[in-house]
Every structure is written in C-alpha cells, then in structure tokens.
C-alpha cells in the first residue's frame, strides 16, 4: 500500500489497512494533517485544527491496535462541524459571538464517536450558527468548493463537506436543519445523511432550530455512512427529544437486496425550478435502481411547495429564542463600552452576530409577537402538520422517496448573498424531510458542467436502513462517488 493513497480511502478501507498493518493510525493522521495545513489550506474548511491532540490520540490508538484491541472506529480520523461542543477545544459556531467559547464538555455525538475510537483532526467551518446555504455567513470567511474554488460548497456544513470532498479527512460530522448536510454533500459530490429526528442526540450540538436540527455525517461512501451513523446514533437521556429505539446494525444490513423496493418520485420536484441537466442526472440514477429491481412510482406531495415559507417561520421563531442566551453575561463575546444594561445587550448582540443571523432573529421575533403569532407561527405549525401527513400518505405506497437534492449544481460565491429568497430556495427539496422529521440522504449521481449533483433519498421514520441499502447498491453500480476533484487528487 502506498501511503500517498491514504487520503483517497474510505473509513472501511482505512480500517482494513490498519488491521492488515499496511499503515498505522499515526501515519494516516500525519498524512491528513499535512494535507489540511498544506494543499487544503486555501479551502478554509477548518476553523480549528487539533493536530497535537490528534497525534497523541493516534499513537494511543496504535498502541491499542498493537495489543489486539478493537473498537469500531479505532484510530480512524474524522472532523467535527464547529457547533458540536468539544471539551477544551474552541467551539465557535463560526460566529464572532462564540469566537472565544471553549466548552467544558463534549457533545454526546463527540463522546460517542470518541468512545468508538475515532480521532478528531479538527473543527470545520460552517455558516454562522448553521444559518445559510452557501457557507458565506461564517465569521471566519467562506469555504471554497474543491471542484472550483470560485464556487460555494453549499451550507451550512460547508467545511465538513469540503474537507471530505477534498480528501482532507475521510469523514466528518454535520448538522441538517433544512438541508445543511444533504445540500453541501450534493454540491461537493459526496455522501451525506441526516437521520430521523431523534435518532442522534442533540445534546451538546449548539441549537439553531431545535425541532428541526439533526446531526449526521459526510463520508465518501454509503458504507462509511452506515458505519459512522451506527456509532453516533442512539438514545440519550440528556436529550428529551431523542428517541429510545434500538440502533440497528446499519453496516451489517447494508447488502440487503433492493429488488422490489418501491421508490416514489415526487411530481412536484420536477417543475420549472429544476435545472434540465440536473433532472436528467436524477432520472438516470433512478434507471440504475430500476435495473437493480426497484420499482419507480409517481407520487404527490401536494403541500410541499409550502415547505420553504413554513420552514423560515418555524426555524426563525425557534432560533430567535435559542440565540437569546448569547447576551455577553456568562460566555462568548461581550461589547466593551456601554452605559446601561440595554446598551450592553444591544452592542453585544449587534456586534457579535452577523447579518444573516440578525435577519433570522428579527424574523423569528416578529412571527412570535403578540398579534402575529396566529397568522405566522401557528399557521406554519399547521402547514407543517399537513406536510407531514403528505409524507405519511406517500409512504403508504412507497418505501423511499427519491428526487434531486438541489435545483442546480454549485453556484458562485457571492451570487446569492444579496438575495435571501433566492438563497433559501436552494433548500426547496431538502426542507420537507426536516419538517416531517424524516431521514434523508444525498449521494452523488452525476455531473452537470463538470460539477457534481446529488440524488436525494428520503425514508420513513427510523427507515435509515433502507436508505443505506438503496444508496449502497447504487454505489456498487456507479462510480460517481469515487470522483475526486483534480486539484486534490
């Protein structure tokens, strides 16, 4: 095994390689750290690189491996989105507000992955407080798309997606409130899964919109996603919304055949908003699945067009409250000159938050205000119910729902920053799964103008297994997921 190829390998391959003594965890870690700090530096994918800690952990892992110890992720390097709290390591949420926040505890996801033996290489860049679809709202500057450095990698988990796509790390965690895992996965040509709401603990995951946020992973294959998700998922008594349902052996069950699998195609997803070439790529992907024995069925989600406005009412309302704790009193940024308490708050929050975060806090405050609550927040909750029911009805007929992840491939940095509505519409296909709490996954399904596009699969509640099985079979038959941007080979 040539060490140069380590960076292109999947978690499963790296695991096998360590087992076969082709290389050590320390060697993997060193190769990747040098890529992060060298070739990868221009991408701005990381906010913090925890090199010293990673090397120490890799050495410890190697010692364990030498004694014959095994853990599912022992010695495998990953990165965490910078909104998962990490004990003793800066967790900024890519905001000036938390530019100095060092949590005294690990998020449950971080703890679980650590317990499974994973090594953290660093914390990845993102949209500020996960609010954005282009990774341009970060206090630390935008992340660049490895397929074209003038383009956005998508957001909000843009740093994690780019790090995996550019082979700086084999896998990374992300969070998805309206598409923040699936959209950047699609735009950078990798696999991204957002599990069922409640499948992964939100404890220690800094909240954007509590009823929509869900942690997930970016990987280079569906197989890796199954491995990683299995280790991070599970009930957590610290999160009242996590669900006490046993975690299946995702990886072990991944080879289940897709023959007879009923896949629904949403008519509403193929309207004028979708790029023609993108539509073709998705249709071709479905043909592949059809060849493997899946049955394609047309379905309707009649209220799905209401998902974007519904989402922006619900998510903004929740974030306006969730972000109230950033007041400069106990942690984070604090303004310097103020004459009274009111000015202390205004300056701290005015200076600490970026424009998009402020926009959403304002929107959320408005929709919850006396006199507007019924017309906006309550109405949005009702529509959310309708959308959930649409999905429920659809799942009486099909096992999975497939469609495009995004309307078009990656867009230029700066292209949509002045038009929030245009930016929000980028999540039009992904938001439904969040509103209904369903698992969703994006896998690479082709290229449009040299840029990757994604196929989105949405499953039933706790139906991650069928998503993974379907995606895995697709990747057995295709090589889109194996493509690596030229510059980062």
């Amino acid at each position: 095994m040539i060490i140069k190829e380590i960076q292109n390998m999947t978690l499963c391959a790296l695991k096998q390689g360590m087992k076969d003594k082709d290389f050590t965890s320390l060697e993997i870690t060193e190769v990747l750290l040098s890529r992060i700090n060298g070739l990868g530096a221009t991408l701005n994918a990381f906010i913090t690189v925890t090199a010293e800690q990673a090397i120490k952990e890799a050495k410890d892992a190697d010692k364990l491996i030498a004694t014959g110890k095994d853990k599912p992720l022992l010695g495998l390097p990953i990165a965490h989105k910078d909104l998962f709290c990490t004990d003793g390591v800066l967790t900024s949420c890519a905001s000036k507000m938390l530019h100095n926040f060092i949590p005294p505890y690990d998020a449950s996801v971080v703890k679980n992955l650590k317990a499974s033996g994973a090594i953290m290489l660093g914390k990845t860049n993102m949209d500020e407080f996960a609010m954005g679809s282009s990774n341009e709202t970060s206090y630390y500057g935008p992340v660049k798309n490895p397929w074209n450095l003038d383009l956005s990698p998508g957001g909000s988990s843009g740093g994690s997606a780019t790090a995996v796509a550019a082979c700086l790390v084999p896998a990374a965690t992300g969070t998805d409130t309206g598409g923040s895992i699936r959209q950047p996965a699609a735009l950078t040509g990798i696999t991204g899964i957002k599990p069922t709401y409640g499948r992964v603990s939100r404890f220690g995951m800094i909240a954007f919109a509590s009823s929509l946020d869900q942690g997930g992973v970016f990987t280079r294959s569906v197989e890796d996603a199954a491995l990683l998700l299995g280790e991070m998922a599970g009930f957590d008594e610290n999160d009242s919304t996590s669900v006490d349902v046993p975690v299946p052996d995702y990886l072990g069950g991944i080879n289940q055949p897709v023959k007879g699998l009923k896949i629904g195609l949403v008519r509403q997803h193929f309207d004028a908003g979708l790029d023609d070439d993108n539509a073709i790529a998705v249709k071709e992907a479905l043909d592949v699945l059809k060849d493997q024995g899946a049955v394609i069925i047309d379905i309707d989600l009649p209220n799905i067009e209401l998902s974007v406005p519904t989402y922006y009412v619900v998510a903004s309302a929740e974030c306006s409250s969730n972000l109230s704790r950033y007041d400069g009193v106990r942690f984070g940024y604090r303004a310097e000159n103020y004459k009274d308490l009111n000015e202390f708050y205004c300056k701290t929050r005015g200076e600490g938050f970026g424009a998009e975060v402020k926009r959403r806090i304002m929107t959320g405050t408005y929709v919850l205000s006396a006199g507007y609550y019924d017309a906006y927040y309550l109405k949005a909750q009702k529509v959310r119910q309708l959308i959930s029911q649409d999905f429920k009805k659809a799942f009486e007929k099909v096992d999975l729902i497939a469609g495009p992840t995004t309307p078009s491939p990656a867009f230029s940095l700066g292209a949509k920053m002045d038009d929030p509505i245009e930016m929000y519409l980028n999540d039009i296909y992904t938001i439904g799964a969040n509103l209904a709490g369903l698992p969703g996954m994006s896998i690479p399904c082709g290229f449009v103008n040299g840029l990757p596009v994604g196929l989105q699969l949405v499953g039933k509640h706790f139906g991650e297994e069928s998503l993974l099985q379907c995606g895995h079979h697709y990747q057995q038959a295709t090589d889109w997921h194996l493509q690596i941007p030229e510059q980062f080979k």
Binding site: F203, D239, R330, F331
Partner: protein, 479 residues
Amino acid sequence: MNSNWEIVIGLEIHAQLATKSKIFSGASTAYGGEPNTQACLVDLGYPGTLPVLNQQAIEMAIRFGLAVDAEISSRSVFARKNYFYPDLPKGYQISQLDLPIVVGGNMSILDGDGNEKIIGITRAHLEEDAGKSVHEGLDGLSGIDLNRAGTPLLEIVSEPEMSSAREAVAYMRKIHSIVRYLEISDGNMQEGSFRCDANVSIKRFDQKELGTRAELKNLNSFKFIEKAINHEVMRQIEIIEDGGEVKQETRLYDSDLDETRPMRSKEEANDYRYFPDPDLLPVIIDETYIADIKKTLPELPNAKQQRFIETYNLKVSDAQILTTTKQLADFYEAVEKIANTESQISANWVIGDYTAALNRDDLEIKDAKLSAADLAGLLNKIADQTISGKIAKEVFEAMWDGEGSAEEIIESKGLVQITDDSEIETIIDQVIENNPSQLAEYLSGKDRLFGFFVGQVMKETKGKANPQKVNEILKNKLT
C-alpha cells in the same frame, strides 16, 4: 374601609417545590450555597445544553391538583417565556401557558364573618425560577447568582374571588398549609419558597364589570400581603373618588415605607413571545399514574379538622389550629393517645404552653427536645392528681429546659400534690387561727374573703395542696 366599594382580589402564589434537584437539571436545589455553586451547565444556559424534566416535579404538581379537587391535564405543554434579564440565563423562562398541568380546583376558607367561602383555583402550572442579581458588596458592580435558577415552582392562580385582604391571607394560609401537608414545598417564606403576587381592583357595588387592576409583586409574608392589599385598596379608592382612573400596572410593595409604587405600566409590559418549548416533549399523564398518586395522599387539613372535632370533641377553633400543620396535628394525636387527660385538656396544652415554648425558642416541632410522650407523661400526672394544673406549668418549664421527665422533676422538687385530708385540714386550721380578723370579716358576710383563705393555704403548701380538697374542707370549716 369605604362601604361603597367592593374589593376584588386574585392571587398568584409561587410555591417552590421540594424536589432534590432542579426542574430541568441535576443540580441541587438546597438553599444558601455559595453563589453559583449549585448551577450546572444547563442552569447556566450553556450552548448545546438541553433541559430534561424532573419527574418528581410532575408528581408534586399532581399531588397538589388532587388535593384541591382540580383536573389533571392528560397532556400539558411547556412553553418558553422570552425576555432578556441578566439573571435569566437562557433568555427565556420555561413555563406553561396554554396547557397547564393542573386546571380548576377550589379551596374553602373562612370569610370575615366566620362563614365558609369557596375560592376557585383557575390553574396551577410548573415553571423554573430565575437566578438573582446581587448588588451589595461588589464595588458598584452587579453580580449574578444562579443557584436559584431552574428551581421548580408551582404557580397557583386563583380566581378573583377574594373580597378583603383578610380573605386573601386566609386563602394563602390555607394553600400554605396544603402544600406542607402534601410535603411538596417547605413553605419557607423567609427563603422565598412561598410568595405571591396579588391582583387588586375595586368596583362600586352596583357595577357589573371588574375595575382596572394593579398587580402587587413578590409579597413574601402574611403580614405584608394584608398591609399591601389594604394600602393598595385605599390608593385606588382615593384615585377614583378624586375623579381619576386606576392604571393597569405592576406595583412593588415597600414594607419599610408601607406603600406600593409602580414598577412598570401595561404599555411598557414585555411581549413574552410564548411558544411551545421544542426541547421538551408534551407531558402525557395517564389515569393509572394519577390513581397511584391519589393513593399516597395524606389526610388533608379540612378532613383532619372535621375528624378532630368528631373524635376528640374539640372546639372548632382549636381543631383548626391543631390541623394547621401536619406536624402539629400528629404531635397532638401522639399526646392524646398516651395522655389520660380529657382530649380538650391535651389540646389546651399543645396549643398553649407547648406552642408558646416553640415560638419563644423559635423551634420546629422536630427540633424540640420535649417529645409527645414527655408531654403526655406530664398530663398523666395531672390526671392521677399527683400535681395540679398550676404546678404542671412549673414542671413543664423544667422539662422544656431538659431537667428530666415529669416524674423526676416532681420528685426532685418535691412537688407532689398534698391530697391527704387530715394534712390539708391541719394547714387550714393553722391559717384560720393566724387570721382572726379576716375570719371575723368573712363570717360577717364578706364572702369574697374565701379566696383569701384559699390563697393562704396554697401559699403555705407552695401550691401543692389539691385545690378541690382545699375548697371542700375550707367551706366546711368556715360555715
């Protein structure tokens, strides 16, 4: 108070629940710790932390609901009340708005004329307390102590059905008694575990609609509630009689100046932007759970009072006093069980000397050295005529001071009652002989000198002579 005016009062009582840990975190609720030593990351509102509901708080709220004949909601929802203040770490308080855990209910009190009056309870909901700001000893800076943040509170909201400050106090005392019977709150008003806000308005007797109300905040003693309400009523009457209008506002009672002053008016009131807390699931309570809790409810003050009247034949007022707290009622029953004195005599001792001694030394029943058995032992010495009731008071004080049992003290101080007829007769003869002029006056018709002779006999015997016998024999001698 002016008789043209009807007073309308509603109370919002905040009872701190006696859970070991906070309502949404594992931190201790103990009072009086060093600032910020009982606040964990959840209480500090740290990024990423989430609330987890304390099941004990739910159980306590249900106990209260059952005790006041309320409906327990099968589904209740926690909501966020959003506002900024430095002692509110998350920028919102988790409370309940539309779907509280306890709905309806009622509480009987005695009105000004001593008649029973039912006060409706609108609702009781669970919420977390805020921390507190500290302004002293910090060189002009303000500090925040978050020990209290996240402490569970049960907010008990009454209907506006009390028509005097005294009724309001009677109602609050009753709720205070109930929460302590249920052992869901220690009711400690000094430590702020039991406090209330009062909504006060007035209207003319012929007026149908309610007047504009003022809300009096944070009343934390029965005395202050009465004074604050009375003061506020007078203020409102003066305003209206002078042709003015009462403003809807929140007012703070200043106990030093005995006045209320405005905190904020309706126009300045916060828009709290309540919405269901997405971090917490709705609380679903099934019938079996409620039934199980119901089985554990203690006998409540009203039922106990009734039983005391019927079983022990006590005066209504005494039965009411004895059942104010479960501890006192239990103590009385323990005494009553052992003592051979009449139940009413035992009650007199518990309400009288015993309670006075507790109050004098500022002690709780559990902290007093004198047990129910000790007191019963003393009463039995009265019952078997070893000592008189008067001597018993002396023995009681010695017992209270830890000098020994009733028997030991009577023995060592030589307080055994003289009941021997001949012995008493000898002393009486002596007294008569020593007071010839008084004897002459008595025999000439000055009947009230009888008391003088009794007094002399008691003086001679240091109070030990059996008073009944003294009376008897003396009467014979003097005719």
